[in-house]
Amino acid sequence: MAKVKNKKNSGLADKVHNKRKMDNNKKKLNPFEVHINREKLKVLGKKSKHDRGLPGVSRAKAIQKRKETLGTEMKLMNKTNTFIDNRIGEKNKQLSAEDRMIARFAAERQNQRTKKNIYNLADDEVLTHRGQTLEQIEKFDDPRSDDEEDDGGVKFGGGLGDDFVDGHFGGGLLSQTDSKHGGKSHKDLIEQLIAESKKRKADKQKEKEQALDLTEKLDSEWKDLHPVVFTKMRKEDKEESAIDKLLSQAEKKSFDYDKMMRELRFEKRGTPSDALINDKKQEKEEKERLEQLEREREQRMLGEDERVVVKPQQAKPKHRSAEDLDDNFELDDDKEFMLAYDKDGKPLVPENILKDFSVPNTRPKFDDGISDTSEEEEEDDDDDESDDSDDAESNEHNEKVSKQNEDSDDALDTSTEAKTKRRKSKSDTDNDESDDDSDSIVPQNNQQLISKNKTNLQNGSAMEPDRKKQRTEDKAKNKNESSILIQNTKDKESDDESNENGEEEDEEESTEEDEDDEEKEEDFNDLKDLKESDVDSDNEMVEEDVEKIGSLFDLASDEGDKLKELLSGKTPSQQSTALQSLIKSYDPSLAENNKDRLSRLFAHMLQYISDIFTDLKDESDVLKSLLTFDKLAPFFYDLAHTNKVSTKKYLVELLKEKYGNFKKRQKRVPDLDTLIFFKLISLLYPTSDFRHPVTTPALIFMSEILISCKFNNAYSISRGLFVTTLILEYTILSKRLVPPAINFLRGILYLSANTSVLNPIEVVPPFKLHRDAKILNLDTDCSKMDVQNKMAAKDFVMADIDDDFKIRCLLTSSGILREFFDYFNDIEAQQYLFEPHLKLMDRIDLDLYPKKINKTISGVVQYMKSTLEVKTFSPLCREKPRPKALRLYEPEIKEVFTGSKSSKQLKTRYKREMKGALREIRRDKSFIASVKIRQKIQSDNIRRDKVKQIYKDAAIQQGELNKMKRMK
C-alpha cells in the first residue's frame, strides 16, 4: 500500500513540475480575455474541447486573415493591372532554396538552347574542374621553371638593396646630402642600379639553362643505366638467396637504396603491344576453358534424358505481335545456331530458323593481305621464344646454384626454364632428341594455328585458347615422354624424319607464297612429267608437292585423283607433311573460296582413307594404312573445324553409303574401310552426347553390325571385336548401355567355352546354340605359350583361327567385359546383364591358357562375382508428391463502406458546414463593411481638413486684407 501511495505522490509531484514548465512555456493569458462556455449538459468522462475560448485572440486572427485575403482582393477590385509572381518554385513550399536555384539554373540553360544557337555548342561557357578552367589545367607548365621563378620573385622583392631604394625614392634628402661626399650624382646611381639588375637577370637565365641541361643529361644516362641496374638487381637477389646469411647485413645497408631503386624501376611500363599473358595465367585460363567445355559436354551427355522426365515442355506460342517490344518476356534463345554458308553464299541453317531470323545474305569476310603480317608475326614469335629459352639456358649454365628462387613476375622465363630443367634431368643422349622434338613442333604448330586463326577473325578470341592448348599438350607430351618408351624406335625415326621435313617446309614456305601464282599457271602435263622423274631426295619431293598443291584445285573433277597422286608412294610421315603444307597453302585467309576447297579436300581425304583400307591382304598393308591414318587424323580434325557444316555433311553421306553397302549383305561384317571411319568419328566428335548428328548414327550402325552379322571365322570375329572396342570407346564417358556389344561378348565367350549339348547356356542372336560352338575353344595345353596381350593388326587378315588368336580373343573380350561391367555398378540390372557371361566363363578351362592370362581372366571373373554378390536390390520408388496445402479462408475486406449511419452523419456535417460557411460569409461582409466605413471616414476627415485649411487660408487672407484696409 505504502508503495502505491508513494507512487501516487511522486506522480503528483511530477505533474506539478511539468505543469509549471508548461506554464512557463505558454504565454501568460490574461484572465479577462478568457471566456468560459457554459455547458448545458454535463456528461461524465467527456472531454470538451470548447469549454473555454479566447474570443479576443481568435477575432484578431480572423481579422488578420481577412486582411490578407479579402482585403488585398478588395484593393485590387476594379483595377486592370495585377502583380503576378512567376518566379520558379517560389510558390512551391517543398523545394528548398538550393533546389529552387538548381531549377532556375536549368531553366536558364534551357532557354539558351534556342533555334539560333543550336549549333553553338558550349562556346561561351567555360568548363571548370575544381574551380580551374580546363585551359588552365592544360597549360602543361614546366614545373621546375615555376618554383624557380617564384624564387626569383621573392628575391626580387626582398633583394632590393638599399641603394635601389635610395635611388628611386631619394631615401631622405637630408641623409643624402650628408653622405653625398663621394660625389655621385643621382643619375649615376640610377644607371648603376639598372646595370646591376640586368646582370642579375642574365646570371639567373644562365643558371637555369645549365640546370636544365644537367637534368636532361641525367635522365638520358638513367635510361641507359636502367637495364643494367635491373638485371643486376635480380642477380643480387639470387646471390642473396644462395649465400643467404652471409650477405644479410650488407643487404640491410643497401635496403634503402634498393627501395628507391625499385620505386624508380616502376617507371618503366611496357607498351600495350607487348603485353604478355604469362604462362600461369594462360594455363589457368586454358584449364578453365577445358573445364567449361567439359561441363557443356556433360550437359549434352545427359541430354533429353532428364528433360523427358521433368514433363514435356509446353510449346511456346510462336505468335509474336509486331509491336512486341520483348520487354516482359524472356526470349527463347535455346542455343545459338551456327551460321555457315555454302559455296553459293546461301546460309546453311535449318529452315525453321531461317524463318525466325532474317539472315543477311552476305558473304563471309576474309581479311586478305593479313597473311603477310601474320608471317612476320610468327617469325617474331619464334624468335622471341627461342631467345627466351636461350637466355634461360645460358642463365642456367652460368648459375646452376640459384634456380629455386625465380622471380615470380617473369613466369614465362620460369616455365621455359622448368622445361629445360626437366630435360636436363634426362640423360644426355635423350636430351638432344627431345629438344629437337619440342623445338620444331612448337613453332610449326603455332604457325599453323596462327595462320588458321587469322582466317576467322570474327571469332578471334579462339586464337589464344588454341595456342594455349597446343602448349599444354606439348608439355604433357614432354612429361609423358618417359612413358612412351614403349614406342618402338621405328616410330621415333619417323618422327625425326617428319621434323626434318617440317623444318625444310618452313624454309620453303617463305618463297612458296610468291611462287604460288606462277605455279598455278603452269601446265598440268609438265607436272606429270616431273612426277615420273621420281627423285629420291625429300627436298625435291617437297618442291614437287608444292607444285602439285598449287594445281590441286584447278579442276574440280580430278581433285581426288590429284590428291591421291600427291599422297601415294610416300611414307606416312611424308604424307603428313605434304598435307600440312597443302592445307596451309589453301588457308581460308588467302583466297575467298579456300574454305570451300578445304571442305572438298576433306571429302577427298575421306575417299583416300577409304581407298587405302580396302582389300588389305597382308599385315604390312594393314599396318601401313593404319600408320597413314594415324598421321592424317589430326588434319581431319583441323579441316573439320574450318568448316563444320559441310564436313559433317560429307561424313554423314559417307556413313549412309557404307550403311547401304552393309545392308546389301547383312550377314557379312563390313571391312576395315568402313570400321576405320568409326574411329575417325570418335576422334572428331564427342561420342558421349545424348544425341549427336554423327556419332549417334555411327553407334547405331555399329550395334547393327553386331546384331545382324554372322561371327564364325577369324575375319568376322576380329572385326567384331574391333567394333566392340570402338563401342566401348564411344560409351566410355557416357556409360551407356549397348546391348549388342554385351551380347557379342557373350557370344565370344560362348564360342570359347566348353559347352555341351546337354546343359546349354543361352546365347543371344546372332549367335545360336550349338552352331559354330567351340570354334574359339582351346583344346591343347598352351600354358607355356608366350602370347601378346593385345589384339593385333595381323588378326584382321588372318585366314584361320589358331591358338594364339583364341587366347588373345578371350583375353581382350574379358578386359572389355570388365569395363562394360563397371558401367553398371550402380544399377541393379547389372546382374541380369552379366550373369550369363559369368556362367560361360566358368565353363572355360582356364588351365589350358598361359599362366599370365589365366591370372588376368580369373581376376576379372573374381571381381565380377564379388561385385555381384554384394549387389543389393532396392525397389523402385518415386518421389512422393507434395501434400496439397489446405485452403485457408481469409476475410473479405471491402474498401468502401456505405451504411445508413454515415449518411446521417454526412447530413449533420453538411448542416454544420453550411452554418459555418454562412457565418463566415456574414463575417466577411461585416469586415468589408468595416473596411469601407473606415475608408469613408478617412476620406471624410481628409476632406474636412482640407476645407478647414481653405477656410483658414481664406480667413488669413481676409484678415490681412482687413488689416491693410485698416492701415489705410
Binding site: E304, V308, V652, T696, L726, K790, A829, F873
Partner: protein, 517 residues
Amino acid sequence: MAAVQQNLSKMISAQLRNKANEFLNSRKHANNLADILQMFEAETDNYTPLLLTVEVIFTELLRRGDLVEEIIPLKPAERSPEAEYKRWLRECYEAAHTRAIECIKRGRTNSRLQALVTACKLMQAEGKHPLEQSTGYYFPSVKLKNIFTTLLDSETSMSAPLARFQEFTEYRDVQQYGLKVLSTIAYRKSPTSIYMQNYLELLDKLLICEITMDNKGKLKERDFEQKEEKLLCSTEDKAPFPYNPGVCRRYANRCWGFACQWPLCDEPRSHRRALALLVERLMPLLTKPHLATDMLCDSLDAGGPISMLALQGVLELVRTHNIDYPDMYDRLYAMFEPEMFATRYKKRLMHLADIFLSSTHLPEALVAAFAKRLSRLALVASAEDAVGLLQLVANLLLRHPALKRMICYEDSPNIMSTDPYVMEETCASASRALGSSLWEVCALRRHNVPALSAAAARLLDTGAARAAPKPLAPQDLASSFDAELKRRFKTIEMNFVRPQGMTSSGDRVMQYWELMA
C-alpha cells in the same frame, strides 16, 4: 559374249515381230505361224520373245473371232477351205497354249514367269471372246486346270510363278473358278513335299481376296461388290458373273480337307506354310474350325516359330469358338526367349501377347511375370525390338494398375539382396514377380539409342498419370539409323582436343589393339 547373245536375241525378237505382223496382215503368210510354233522345239533358256509373239498373235485372232467355228447342229462339219483353215488355227491355238504352259517349267525365271503370264493372258482373251456361244458367264476352266496342273508340280518349286500368279487371283472369277478347279484336281495319295508346298502356296494365293462370311446384307454387298470387284474375263456384252461366296467357301473347305490328309507336319517348312495359311486365310472360312484344334495344339508344342504361328490360331479358337486351352499363358510365357529375336514372327508374337494380356481376368502375379520377362528380354534385344517390348510392358502397366508397385513401391522400401523374381520358373504365376521391380527399365534408360532411352523414361513415368494403353506402334520400316540421320541439329558439336594421331582421350582401341607396330 553376252553382247553377242543380246544382239542375237534382239534380232530374233525383231524377226518374230515381223513374222507375226505378216501373218496377221494376210493369210498368205499362214506358214509363219507354223514356223513360230516350231521354234518352241528349240532348246534355249529364254522363250520370252517367242511367248510374247504367240500372245500377240492369238489375242489378236481371238479378238477378231477368227477362231470361232460356226457349228450348226445336225450338220456335218463343213469341208470348205475356210473351215479347214479355222480348224487348223484352233489346233494351233491349243498347241500354243500347251507349249506356253510347258514353258512354265523350263528355262530362266523370267521366261517362266512370262510363260505363265502368256498362258493367263490367252485364257483371259478366250474368256472375253469365247470360242463357242454360251448363254451364261463363260470362263475357260479347262485352260485354268491345265495351268494349275503345271503349277502343282511335284519336282520343282513354283514359288516364283506362284508369286506372279497372285496378280490374277485378285480377280473374283479366277478365285471362284480356281477354287473349283483346284478342288477337283487336288486329290493325291502321297504327295511329295514340294507338291505340298506348291499346293499350299497356290491355295494361299487363291484366298488372297477375302471371302465375305456373313449372309446378312447380301444384297447390299452385291451392289457394292459389283462396283468393286475386278473380273478377268468380263466384257460389256456378256452375262454378269454370278459370284457366290458360299460356293467359294465350300470349295475352299474341300481343298483344305484334302490337304489335311497329308502329312503336313512332318517337314517344318510345309508345316509353317500350312499353319500360316490356316491361321491367316482359312480360319474364318472353315465350317468346323475346331477340327484344326489338334493340329494347332501339336504345333504349339513344337516350339520356335511354328508355335508362334499356332498361337494365333489358338487365340482365334479361344476367342470365337470357346475352346479351353490349358496353360495357355505359360506357353505364351515360354515363348519369350532370346531366340525369338531371330525369328521372323517376333512382331506377330508381340502383337498377340498384347491381345492375350489385355484380358481383364488375369491374376496380377501373372501379368507381373510377363512384364518382368519382357523387360528382361528388352535388355538383350536390338533397339527396334526393345522399343516394342517396352511399349508392351507399358500397356501391361496401364491395364493393370496394381503393377504400379513394380515401378514405384509405395511401402517403405526394404533393400533386398537378390531379385525375388525367378527367371527360370516356367510357371508364370509362380515366378514371384510382384515383389520385384523393373530394374531392367532403369538400365534401359541408359541405352545408347536416344529413342529407346526416352521410351524407358516414359515407361517409368507411367506411374504418375494413367493414360489409355496404346496399340503397339506399327514398326516403322525406317530404322533408327535413318531416323537419326534425318534429325536436324542446331549445332554440330566437335571435340575440343586436337588428336595427335589415332589416340585420343578415353581411347580404348589402343588399349586392346596393337595397331601401330
